[in-house]
Symmetry: C2
Subunit: 238 residues, 2 copies
């Protein structure tokens, strides 16, 4: 199907949408190579540069991947992980996938809090703990936890030794915590985050924010997570 | 603070991040006008075109808005709507905000289902109902509901007359429904969606997918929603 030159829409945008329709319809399967640029150019009635621009955009959003010297391939769909109401992997497939999940701590710092962390926690200073979660050693999620605690960065580092991060935060604040709220939005990747997640700055990023409170309902931790939606899809089972 | 020309990072990207830091820090309040291009160019040590490019990118993600002939203004933050566990507005502020919410039906069609809708519902044909939700008359959410039902488009249109869309779907499938799962991801806006939501194609869009099942656990409706995160922020209270 050729592009429609009578439309006031850039040709590369039209080509991208036609390719997306093919990808959605399963014309090419994950791992399969896309037809070469001249073939696609002929099919859509455009030049190779237009095809190249459309494919570059699909690459930025993770729908296709380029392999040096061998072409463009349909990307593997994101790994779907089903979580039950308690936030634990539900089903064997989810547990198997999570077996390769780990969340190393990148940095622990005592700092002046800003923005939403400061508003939500109602304190000027706290701990910031930055992690990068990996699934089969590939980055999928970057988190900055802000914690209302008087501990120094060194004290916090010592406390963070253990298998499950949420438990370690309870040790850090000295009380049990429960989730107060969660929110999702979509934002363009910032430079620092883009570098950690190995995407181009500006790629769409799923952001999840939330607050955990103590038994008295006082907000103790605030976190902002950035997910690579093209690699990981969290499904919340009701 | 000028840009750092020794970094291998495009200057407009550096300027955008510096402006984002200012916006996050509240240097300028919502509704306030940003300094003029020459002022920002001098501050960052770049030319006006670089500033213009950085601001265009901030505009695409809804952080600033341009007003013809009068400059660039800090955008109003997204309206935050708290929902309780049952999915209903929690608190007076949320209820007041939701008073201006409506979800007109754009189209009802009987169609061959494709992609995830077909996989999840396990049928080849069904109804597609497309809506565009408005908050204070501004588009915030585009939804395509796919429904496993033998009804014709005309029959469905007649059934869809009523105040609350989920209730109308129960009438349409002839049984009560409950949510089976929900998932969130971030995607670039496609052309059709971008036009409806009044954003540029490629802007980051929060997508929410989900399935509703009947009393026997059979999937009856599948939906994909695209939210304008810069206008609406849904907060799920735990």
């Amino acid at each position: 199907m050729p592009v429609d030159r009578s439309l006031p829409i850039p040709l590369h945008v039209q080509v991208e949408e036609l390719l997306l329709s093919d990808l959605d319809a399963g014309t090419w399967q994950p791992g399969e190579r896309l037809p070469a640029e001249p073939v696609l150019a002929a099919r859509f009635g455009v030049n190779r540069l237009t095809v190249r621009e459309a494919i570059a955009s699909l690459r930025r959003t993770g729908r296709v991947v380029a392999r040096q010297g061998s072409g463009t391939f349909v990307a593997t769909p994101p790994l779907r992980i089903d979580l039950d109401a308690a936030g634990r992997p539900a089903g064997d497939a989810a547990r198997t996938a999570m077996a390769t999940f780990r969340e190393p701590v990148l940095d622990v710092r005592r700092t002046r809090l800003t923005g939403e962390a400061r508003t939500e926690l109602g304190v000027d200073e706290g701990l910031e703990i930055e992690t990068l979660a990996l699934l089969s050693d590939a980055p999928v999620m970057h988190t900055v936890y802000s914690i209302a605690s008087a501990a120094t960065a060194d004290e916090a580092r010592a406390q963070l030794d253990g298998p499950w991060l949420p438990d370690r935060f309870e040790a850090l604040v000295g009380t049990s915590l429960r989730s107060a709220w969660r929110a999702f939005d979509a934002v363009p990747a910032r430079r620092h985050e883009a570098a950690l997640l190995d995407v181009e700055p500006g790629s769409p990023i799923l952001r999840r924010s939330g607050v955990n409170v103590d038994a008295d309902g006082v907000a103790r931790t605030f976190h902002v997570r950035a997910y690579r939606s093209d690699r990981l899809r969290i499904v919340l089972r009701d």
